[in-house]
């Protein structure tokens, strides 16, 4: 494989990883929206569904525009199919969140299934004076400091899964769940 096509290939895989991560994040958020009866989270899932559609189209175009040799065609077909699967998972997540968006009070069975907890969800922006900027999530120790658990990070129109190595940036929106008291503590360190 030439240098150029290798580069293009890495771009394809990078997009696939993002499709995969986004679809899995959506499932987590959708179940959390039920657990917490949170319209905000359900709306987030819906927004991500739009984002997935766009991402998926870009991904398919990228795969189709790469010049593959005949013997590689199967491998590329496999990639296209994986992309379709992420789309299906995202659709399933959107269906779960629709229950909340239609104003259906989640049945006690749903809450018992997902997890019994008295938690709230909060969105906090990371502002200029925040000590969190440029720290990795591991170093930021948000759960230890605030009792809040980061569900996702919104950056521009992307929504990122919280991995320990991820660096927090100015303007990030932290989506976190936890007990109500933790909300203020999180605000103090994210938007002082």
């Amino acid at each position: 494989m030439s240098k150029r096509s290798r580069k293009q290939f890495e771009a394809i895989v990078e997009q696939l990883v993002e499709l995969k991560d986004t679809s899995e994040l959506m499932i987590d958020l959708a179940y959390s929206s039920l657990l917490l009866n949170s319209r905000e989270l359900a709306e987030e899932v819906y927004r991500l569904e739009d984002y997935m559609d766009k991402l998926h189209t870009d991904f398919e175009l990228l795969v189709l525009s790469s010049k593959s040799k005949k013997e590689e065609a199967k491998g590329f077909l496999g990639l296209i199919r994986l992309g379709v699967v992420t789309e299906k998972i995202a659709d399933a997540a959107a269906e779960i969140s629709e229950v909340i968006l239609r104003g259906i009070e989640p049945h006690p069975v749903l809450k018992a299934t997902i997890r019994e907890a008295e938690e709230t969800v909060t969105h906090v922006s990371v502002t200029q004076k925040s000590p969190l900027i440029n720290k990795t999530l591991r170093d930021a120790r948000i759960p230890e400091e605030t009792g809040m658990w980061i569900l996702a990070i919104r950056r521009g129109d992307k929504c990122i899964r919280p991995k320990p190595d991820l660096k927090i940036e100015l303007g990030d929106v932290l989506i976190a769940s936890g007990y109500a008291e933790g909300k203020e503590d999180l605000k103090k360190i994210a938007s002082p």
Binding site: K20, E72, R81, K88, A92, E95, I104, L110, T113
Partner: protein
């Protein structure tokens, strides 16, 4: 035509059915991606088996909610449960779609594995050999997370699946373990479970 068995009503609580559907569908997604990335047919077969189990659970759950709804108010309260169960079923179907890529020899481009390996942990299945030192030990006392960065996420024992096994769960001879971890730790763990590695180092 595959043989599809007739599903008889069983009085299992909706909560239990839904919980198992949710857990299985999430496990299946992880198993299926690993199967595709590492072209692992055994993992893909596991996914197909779990898919038919989730189908059965979906039937049972649907029957149970039908019985539970006596009037319009009940139906309105229960519709959310139905929708969520159907979503879990769709997720498990999506996982089966991935498994088919492996089983029908379509495969994904081998370069994908190279790129993914850098960023992703992988799953592996391993059958516990009678010689292995982990036989009879509780998962908690093995300290796998601390020692090799490996987590046992499921046990396939005879016909049963134990998802997210508790720390007190004992490993038995012949168990099929699904473990998650970085590639090096996973390799070491496989040797341990197959009885080739005789010592657990701190």
């Amino acid at each position: 035509m595959p043989h599809l068995e007739r599903i008889k009503y069983k009085p299992i609580p909706v909560r239990e059915l839904l919980l198992e559907m949710k857990n299985l569908s999430e496990l299946m997604i992880d198993l299926a991606y690993s199967a595709a990335l590492f072209n692992d047919k055994e993992l893909a077969e596991d996914v197909m088996e779990l898919e038919s189990r989730v189908d059965t659970l979906a039937y049972l759950l649907e029957m149970q909610t039908m019985i539970a709804a006596r009037d319009a108010e009940d139906a309105e309260a229960l519709i959310g449960v139905s929708i969520v169960a159907s979503a879990a079923d769709k997720i498990s179907d999506a996982a089966a779609d991935i498994a088919v890529i492996v089983l029908k020899d379509i495969g994904v481009h081998p370069l994908v594995t190279q790129v993914f390996e850098k960023v992703e942990e992988r799953l592996m299945r391993v059958k516990v050999d009678e010689e292995s030192i982990i036989v009879g030990k509780q998962i908690g006392e093995l300290g796998l997370v601390a020692k090799m960065g490996v987590d046992i996420i499921a046990i396939h024992r005879n016909k049963d699946w134990i998802i997210n096994p508790k720390v007190k769960e004992k490993v038995k001879n012949g168990d099929i373990l699904i473990a998650r971890g970085a590639p090096s730790g996973i390799k070491e763990f496989k040797e341990l479970a197959e009885g080739k590695l005789r010592r657990l180092e701190d």
